[in-house]
């Protein structure tokens, strides 16, 4: 590396650290964005040079990015040092902050925003790319989901990485099947409205208990080599012909799928599956999600859902219990300004439950519940909504979208 290149990189990282430290002191955000912007202006090639020679794993998808990144990180730490962007900064500014402080032999595990995946793969030459799922999310500002699938397919056709991909999501299979090396994981899917039209030929995809297939062309679910299932709260993963089984506390079929994808990726990067699975089941909560808090004397389980697929899969989790529910909807920039998607969420399954609607857009949610014929109360304050929902002897389940969830976590954790 030429001297000027190294110097530019050092100046960029030094500037980034200074700005980030300052914004952390001033408590403006997580302290990785402002400095990252500065550093990338000084050295636009910074992410490429910082990750040169390092093992990099990228994790992307509409839902489960943060959780899967945390599971993969935990699994890999059994074998290697890991640097990861666990602050939620999943764009280039966050990636350079992570890479700049990675130990020399560390694996760099990056959660990546869907729209940033293709260029991040060019800059970091990853060894592993984990593709979770694709579905409608924030259509007022994000690209249409099929355009994302096309971009990912182009990325897959050129990458040297092993792609660890969810075989149950047709849009993921469409993208990943262009890669030269793919590990298919039966990670499950509780949402297929965005993949009814075949991405390959425009025909109809039929979904059944044993997978999915296009009725018009050869596009069908590939045979997975990694599978998972749950039994009485245990996580079971079949990997390379061996069955691993451990108690697992994260709820939902989607989290077992995330764990299977993380385990497959960890084993490619050198972790022994037995140790890796024993470590990843220790993850009990991720950035507040799935945590249990006491709010004004009430036990509350905190869940985050950002889009129809996310809400649908959480409803599968809460379906089994009769716990009172507080549902909170905002439509700020990070949530997307258009709450039309509420009509894609099957709120009808909540009939007969105790439900309180809250958040900035509680009236949008209230009208949605009205047409779902779900009796409910409305409260303009999240904590008051929790108190209103509380029933003696039962924990309250709080489900919020991005900024609604963040506001409650910030409030109850101080």
């Amino acid at each position: 590396m030429a001297l000027t290149t190294r110097l530019r990189r050092r100046v960029a990282v030094w500037g980034m650290d200074l700005v980030n430290a300052t914004s952390r002191v001033l408590r403006r955000g997580s302290g990785t964005v402002a400095g990252g912007h500065l550093a990338l202006r000084i050295d636009p090639n910074l992410l490429r040079s910082l990750t040169e020679g390092a093992d990099v794993a990228l994790v992307s998808g509409t839902n489960g990015k943060t959780t899967t990144t945390a599971l993969l990180t935990q699994a890999l730490r059994t074998a290697r040092e890991v640097a990861t962007n666990d602050t939620g900064s999943n764009m280039t500014t966050g990636h350079v902050a992570t890479a700049a402080h990675a130990a020399p032999n560390a694996v760099v595990v990056l959660e990546v925003d869907e729209a940033y995946l293709a260029k991040t793969a060019v800059w970091t030459t990853p060894r592993v790319v984990v593709l979770l799922n694709l579905s409608r999310d924030q259509l007022d500002r994000a690209s249409e989901v099929r355009m994302v699938a096309e971009k990912w397919r182009t990325m897959c056709s050129t990458t040297t990485a092993t792609v660890v991909a969810n075989a149950d999501d047709p849009l993921i299979v469409y993208a990943a099947s262009a890669a030269s090396s793919v590990v298919w994981v039966a990670a499950g899917s509780s949402w297929n409205l965005d993949a009814v039209g075949c991405p390959s030929c425009g025909g109809h995809i039929a979904f059944g208990d044993d997978g999915w297939a296009c009725g018009h062309c050869a596009f069908r679910r590939p045979m997975p080599s990694v599978a998972c299932r749950a039994d009485d709260g245990d996580l079971e993963v079949a990997l390379d012909g061996v069955l691993y089984r451990h108690p697992f506390s994260l709820p939902g079929a989607f989290n077992r799928g995330n764990a299977a994808l993380a385990l497959a990726a960890a084993s490619i990067l050198g972790a022994a599956p037995e140790q890796a699975i024993a470590a990843l089941v220790e993850v009990k909560s991720v950035a507040g999600r799935y945590s249990h808090e006491v709010v004004d004397g009430r036990q509350v389980s905190l869940l985050l859902a950002k889009n129809p697929a996310g809400w649908s899969s959480l409803f599968e989790v809460v379906a089994g219990n009769g716990d009172p529910l507080v549902l909170s909807i905002n439509a700020r920039t990070a949530d997307g300004a258009d709450p039309s998607w509420l009509y894609d969420v099957p709120f009808e399954v909540l009939r007969g439950r105790t439900v309180v609607a809250t958040g900035d857009r509680r009236h949008d949610l209230s009208v949605r519940l009205h047409y779902a014929e779900v009796d409910h109360a409305v409260d303009d304050d999240q904590r008051a909504a929790i108190t209103r929902a509380a029933t003696p002897g039962r924990p309250v389940t709080f489900i919020g979208n991005y900024t609604a969830f963040g506001a409650l976590v910030a409030e109850v954790r101080g």
């Binding site: 409608r136 039209g197 258009d338 009509y343 209230s366 009205h370």
Partner: protein
């Protein structure tokens, strides 16, 4: 029996558009009217119905829906015999003479509304909309509130009237008009569950089908949402 047909929800259902059928179904059923909703998937024959709904969609599926409806002709026959049609966003554009695909080419529409959708240099219209209904026969419908998200701009021909006059937002993008009406065909850029936010429009559509005024419903919850959205009024 009120027969509602949702056309191609697998192609035109991007923004919670299924909500409009649900709103109409509930508001009919809550009044004791019999109602049936048919979800007509792409490739299925367009059935006989009293009220047809078309939703929003991405460019590729939109072109495919237009092509399938053109071949099927069932929607054309329905309009000829006076059936009511309510189309939203991409569904609105499909009803016109042409619309523009992502590659910039003009795709033929169904010609059921005398409108033409073009692409301009202006940026995509994304955001909240408030509009006063001006179309003859529909002016009893209170101020429309909704959300728009479209790249195209729609020019109205002599054969249609604007549905509404835009107070806030973009709408058709010309002359501050929003949507279009011709006979029993009504179209708007207010996408997704626009009927949830505008129960007056939902009931006006149902009254066209039933042919008589409907009993009032308890819309307290919806009134709170409308107050919230109408507060955007400039």
């Amino acid at each position: 029996m009120i027969r509602i047909a949702v056309l191609y929800p697998d192609l035109l259902g991007t923004y919670g558009d299924g909500g409009n059928a649900q709103v109409l179904e509930c508001r009919a059923r809550w009044r004791g009217l019999e109602v049936a909703v048919a979800q007509v998937l792409a490739g299925d024959e367009v059935p006989d119905a009293d009220l047809y709904l078309l939703g929003g969609g991405e460019d590729g599926p939109q072109a495919r829906a237009a092509d399938l409806l053109q071949r099927d002709r069932g929607l054309h026959r329905a309009v000829d015999r006076g059936a009511t049609v309510f189309a939203v966003c991409a569904g609105y554009q499909i009803l016109g003479h042409h619309f523009i695909s992502s590659d910039g080419s003009a795709t033929p529409g169904l010609g059921l509304l005398d409108v033409e959708t073009v692409r301009t240099d202006e940026r995509r219209a994304v955001g909240e909309v408030l509009a006063e209904v001006v179309a003859r026969g529909w002016t009893a419908v209170p101020t429309l509130t909704g959300f728009e998200n479209h790249g195209g701009r729609t020019r109205l021909g002599a054969g249609v009237e604007p549905l509404a006059h835009v107070e806030y937002g973009v709408g058709n993008g010309e002359d501050a008009t929003e949507g279009a009406v011709a006979g029993n065909v009504v179209a708007t850029y207010l996408h997704g569950p626009v009927l949830a936010r505008n129960p007056g429009l939902a009931d006006a559509l149902l009254e066209r089908v039933v042919g008589s005024p409907l009993a009032p419903l308890n819309d307290e919850r919806i009134a709170l949402l409308r107050d919230d959205r109408l507060a955007l009024r400039p």
